[in-house]
């Protein structure tokens, strides 16, 4: 099990837009990734409903966990450490 701890940088936290971008990236890893807030159970990082319900605010430290998949976790951690709300949305 691999873990990354990261502080969420988006000023508005993981609300609809940043959450959607993060969940899309987590799903693209092809592996099971969870995200947790301190004191709360980890939830499926590939579920927008689960991630939005987690209510992650700006400055919260979250823990990402996956089986192996170091590079994928690094990418996801980097996403959360960036200001997702300021970046242009990807061309889906």
């Amino acid at each position: 099990m691999t873990e990354r701890r990261v502080t969420v940088a988006s000023p508005v936290g993981l609300h609809a837009r940043p959450a959607a971008m993060f969940v899309r990236a987590a799903a693209a890893t092809g592996t099971t990734v969870t995200i947790a807030k301190p004191g709360k159970d980890p939830v499926d990082a590939r579920s927008l409903l689960a991630v939005m319900s987690l209510d992650v605010r700006h400055g919260d430290e979250v823990t990402l966990t996956a089986e192996g998949a170091d590079a994928a976790l690094d990418e996801l951690a980097a996403l959360l450490a960036s200001n997702l709300d300021a970046e242009p949305a990807p061309n889906a």
Partner: protein
């Protein structure tokens, strides 16, 4: 079990592609529809029966029986209004029935602040092709909006 999602607002039902936010417009958040609301003081009602999983002044998620979450986002970039102009009529964790009042707001005020009052109504974590019978054009409060199969 199919879930009938009904209009949380009255206005014009438009495709998500018309939402001025690429993350909604490309259905990254999920499939669904948007409502271009009437520019009057309005009550936003629950689009499905279920539990209020998330309630912010500018956005709400209701989880229907079976665990399906429907997101209603009140305008675009309205998170930056910090709740100003929104009045909550329910609370997170409440059980609600479709049509029950959740938030009061005035889309005209949002528009006057330079923001789009268009409201995406989205099926969260929905599989591709699972949303059907999408409404189009003028829609009344509580009218059928789409079916989530």
């Amino acid at each position: 079990m199919a879930v009938q999602v009904t209009a949380p607002l009255s206005g014009m039902a438009v495709g998500l592609s018309e939402v001025p936010d690429p993350v909604f417009a490309t259905a990254m958040v999920g499939p669904g529809l948007a409502i271009d609301p009437e520019r009057v003081l309005s009550t936003v009602v629950a689009p499905v029966s279920g539990t209020i999983a998330k309630l912010k002044p500018h956005a709400l998620v209701i989880v229907a029986d079976g665990g399906r979450g429907v997101l209603v986002h009140l305008g675009i970039d309205t998170v930056h209004l910090d709740g100003e102009g929104f009045r909550l009529l329910a609370a997170e964790g409440d059980s609600v029935v479709a049509g029950q009042p959740i938030v009061e707001w005035n889309p005209a005020d949002v528009e006057a602040r330079g923001l789009s009052p268009v409201c995406p109504v989205v099926a969260l974590d929905a599989l591709d092709g699972s949303v059907a019978e999408l409404a189009h054009g003028p829609i009344g409060l509580g009218a059928p909006l789409f079916v989530w199969n």
